[in-house]
């Protein structure tokens, strides 16, 4: 399988990348690690006319302590997130979740920005940034703007990014609330999560329980009210809209959500 023909361009700066994509309009896409986009292109589920490669831009690859927040460049790979001592200290939820994305080869290529912009509801990192209440920075032809993670995921593979906008940075306030955990359930290690859970303090988000990552509001309210992990986890499937597919029925996903939330909250509180 090879993708349909397209024109490849390599950008040497973020400004150039934004210009190149603006020139070709909606037929152009940014290419970072390519580990979400190229599989779609092989299947003809995406048929861009132009790919603008941002994968080598050093200005998009960093993990920095900015005092009141941690800043992560959008083209930072999952492997770099997983290996970061700074993240291990300040945001272990992000580094540990990134270390469970795909497999080592995928983590050497795939990027946090690519994963968030792709917005697959079965992906791990969208739920993590939602739990961390991250701010996402996007740059387009008319400049930069900040988007709250809560406003970023709009639907299946759909985000608040406008055509031509490039996700450039992920910011997370520090210190993060005490207690964190990441759990996912899948059949083979390299598969997407059938259901996953990200916990930081009393904030709890679910992977693959709807068209977007979702906060488990019932669980959070119960935890804030002092409920035990077991009692809070009983609310895990409330308000979710998990799909039926060949991996699992909706009812099974709801069961998994309750079990994984209980385990994750217990781990976070331990």
């Amino acid at each position: 399988m090879i993708p349909a023909p397209f024109t490849y361009r390599r950008a040497w700066s973020v400004d150039e990348a934004v210009d190149l994509v603006a020139r070709d309009g909606e037929d152009a896409k940014f290419l970072a690690g390519g580990h979400s986009l190229l599989p779609l292109m092989k299947l003809r589920l995406a048929v861009p006319q132009t790919l603008v490669d941002i994968g080598r831009l050093a200005e998009l690859s960093y993990i920095r302590d900015e005092g009141d927040h941690i800043a992560v460049g959008a083209a930072t790979t999952h492997g770099e997130l997983a290996g970061s001592g700074l993240l291990a200290r300040e945001l272990p939820l992000l580094s540990r979740a990134a270390g469970q994305v795909g497999d080592p080869q995928v983590r050497h290529c795939g990027t946090i920005g690519g994963s968030l912009a792709h917005a697959d509801p079965a992906a791990d990192l969208p739920a993590v940034v939602l739990t961390l209440d991250a701010t996402l920075v996007a740059r387009g032809p008319s400049g930069s703007r900040e988007i709250a993670a809560a406003d970023f995921f709009r639907g299946l593979f759909e985000t608040a990014l406008e055509p031509g906008e490039l996700l450039t940075e992920i910011r997370v306030h520090k210190p993060a609330a005490a207690g964190w955990a990441f759990q996912k359930f899948n059949k083979r290690a390299i598969d997407w999560a059938i259901v996953g859970v990200a916990v930081q303090g009393n904030r709890v988000s679910l992977v693959n329980m709807g068209q977007t990552p979702v906060r488990a509001a019932g669980v959070e309210a119960a935890l804030t009210g002092g409920a035990s992990a077991r009692d809070a986890a009983a609310h895990a499937a409330e308000g979710t809209s998990a799909s039926d597919d060949l991996n699992a029925t909706r009812a099974y996903r709801e069961h998994l959500a309750r079990v994984l939330v209980r385990r994750a909250v217990e781990a976070a509180q331990a």
Binding site: G34, H35, D53, Q105
Partner: protein, 156 residues
């Protein structure tokens, strides 16, 4: 587009369509056929090569993404005298292969693993090889081979 990369220490350049995948560049332009196309969907790992020293799945990268960079395939591991790389020796000694189709990818994934973690535990080896499937299910000997290679690497 013109793509130039260093493959196993030698420069390879070729005019290829922009959509050319790295695995096809290696097999068809560089003439190196050890790197296999297995699932073609970044699941099986048979196409694993090193890109700037790190394991990647060459079926899910464009040749253009490797332009100007350094690639090592299985053919690049043995030294000029034909002496096998320690990981290759360990796979042979421990019978870490059955049909052999997954072997180039397993070996390259192992080389990358041992660069990042020179003394992995058995569990770490199994986790690090999650992205490489062996349809013969010969995993036990593969894991033994990786541990043996790590031991030899530490000793030398």
């Amino acid at each position: 587009m013109k793509v130039t990369m260093t493959v196993n220490g030698s420069q390879v350049d070729a005019e290829v369509p922009d959509r050319t995948l790295l695995v096809h560049f290696l097999r068809d332009q560089a003439g190196l056929s050890a790197t296999n196309v297995g699932c073609d969907t970044s699941s099986c790992g048979a196409c694993t090569v090193l890109l700037d020293g790190r394991s990647v799945k060459s079926c899910t990268l464009l040749a253009a993404q490797a332009d100007g960079r350094s690639v090592v395939t299985l053919e690049g591991l043995a030294n000029g005298d034909g002496e096998l790389h320690p990981v290759q020796r360990a796979f042979r000694a421990e019978h870490g292969l059955q049909c052999g189709f997954c072997t180039p990818g397993m070996v390259m994934a192992t080389v990358s693993l041992l660069e990042e973690n020179p003394a992995p535990t058995e569990e770490e080896v199994r986790t690090a090889l999650e992205g490489n499937l062996c349809r013969c299910t010969g995993y036990h000997n593969i894991v033994r081979a990786v541990l043996a290679a790590a031991g030899e690497r530490q000793a030398s």
